[in-house]
Amino acid sequence: MEQLESFIEIKKASKKFVTRSGDHVTALTDVNLSIDKGKFITLVGPSGCGKSTLLRMVGGLIQRSSGSVSIGGAEIEAPTAGIGMVFQSPVLLPWRTVRQNVTVAADIGGANRREVDERATKFLDMVGLNGFEDKYPSELSGGMQQRVGITRALVHDPEVLLMDEPFAALDAMTKDKLQVELQSLWMTSRKTVIFVTHSIQEAVFLADRVIVLAPRPGRVVDDITIELPRPRTLEMINSREFGDYTSAVRKHFEAEGLVQ
């Protein structure tokens, strides 16, 4: 009897790195994860527990050592057009304007220029960047730069959005604002999102499911479904239920002696 497959299936995925000195580092071991279409998943864990490695494995950006990763039934061996990626630093090309950065996929090929242009206009509007289309990245604040990065990742209409600590370098108030914006962006587009963070509060606030990772070797230690109603507001962070969720995540790190 075969079980029905989820949209993203990660089975027994492991990654070993060989360092320059020849040592083997087990970044991830035996990760199993099934993710339904349209869900918002956060990966939380201390630095070095393999969050970025797992995210890049799903995106096909690094080869896994063993196991399998599939999206929509297709095994992932290399990056596909179905993926959008947002990095910790916005990675904007300084010689391109906001609009040219957002539509870079059309220059690189694969994406349809007209569709990309249309969606760029729509998303730039949604994230409040209208009027900034012709500015260069150096003229924008950090928060705005990251909005450009997010818009760029959405503009070729990927099914899966991978985000690697996109707000980690921002100040607390900008971070709060962008979390709320990201939620509403997600609620209108219903992409499947995997969002990496080392902030427990951010993980709980955004997620349908929080996947907790622990280091040495990197592995999944918990999988918590967050049943807070949406749209979530910043006031909810002070509620009892929210606190219960954050404690549930935090206890794993306390057990590991890794409280942040």
Binding site: L61, T80, M85, F87, P94, W95, I108, A111, S138
Partner: protein
């Protein structure tokens, strides 16, 4: 020269607390005052006081007259045009070859291991010492000068282009990985723009060297050109004529360098934009 090259590359790094110049008109005025003071002291203090012979050191006014008559009576105008052609052709040729060779060397470790030793050896040869060979091979005309200028311009452009073509940040490459970008698109949209600030650093070093190269080549053997004019004036003990030719050379080198810098600032505009 290696210091020059690395300095030209480091220009790219923005210092946050850059020294702020006062209003430019005051600065211009001050530098004009410095120049006028210097020339006046030379003309009316230094020469008369020490009683220096004009065959050793002519007055600025004598140099100006020599320049004027060279341009409008003599052949200095033709000489300038000849040297400008040599510089321009050699510079374009040397830069183009330097850039073209930088692409495989920057792109592949194998190409680097094969080509780099020869390129470094080529650079180690003193160009002045081999200039007579080029005159033997290519004659007293323009070709030998163009080749020598090209050879001298080549290296700074090559070295800077190699560094620049490798200067693409890893995260930009990863962004292009996400889009499965081809090698050509990566080159066109990442490597090339990222290398531009370095290449202009190399072009700027190269432009000054190219003028030197043309003059050295003309010293070795030429009938025309500013270098040849200097030699002719020297033999005639026309010291003012030598100074006039040197003034022209300085002007050419400075103007060409300023032009390259202006083009660089325009094309590599994003390096100038201060944050915020």
């Amino acid at each position: 020269m290696s210091e020059v090259i690395s300095a030209s590359v480091h220009r790219k790094v923005k210092s946050p607390s850059r020294f702020r110049f006062p209003a430019p008109d005051i600065v211009t005025l001050a530098s004009v005052v410095v120049l006028v003071t210097f020339l006046s002291a030379w003309e009316w203090v230094l020469i008369p006081l020490l009683n220096i012979s004009p065959a050793l050191l002519p007055k600025p006014s004598a140099i100006a007259i020599a320049l004027w008559s060279g341009l409008f009576v003599g052949d200095l105008g033709t000489d300038i045009l000849i040297t400008l052609q040599e510089v321009f052709l050699g510079y374009v040729l040397g830069s183009a070859i330097g850039f073209a060779l930088a692409i495989p060397v920057a792109g592949s470790r194998v190409a680097e291991r094969i080509l780099y030793p020869y390129i470094v050896a080529l650079q180690a040869i003193p160009k002045v010492a081999i200039a007579p060979l080029f005159v033997i091979w290519f004659g007293f005309g323009m070709t030998s000068k163009v080749v020598i200028v090209a050879l001298i311009t080549f290296f700074p452009v090559f070295v800077n282009a190699v560094i620049g073509l490798r200067a693409t940040p890893a995260e930009q490459d990863e962004l292009f990985d996400v889009y499965n970008a081809s090698a050509w698109r990566r080159f066109r949209y990442l490597r090339l723009p990222n290398s531009a600030p370095y290449i202009f650093g190399g072009l700027n070093v190269g432009v000054t060297l190219s003028v030197i190269g043309a003059i050295v080549a003309e010293f070795v053997g030429a009938q025309e050109g500013i270098g040849s004019a200097i030699i002719r004036a020297g033999f005639a003990l026309d010291t003012a004529g030598v100074f006039a030719a040197i003034a022209v050379l300085t002007f050419i080198a400075a103007t060409a360098s300023a032009a390259i810098q202006a083009i660089g600032r325009k094309l590599v505009f994003w390096m100038e934009n201060p944050k915020g």
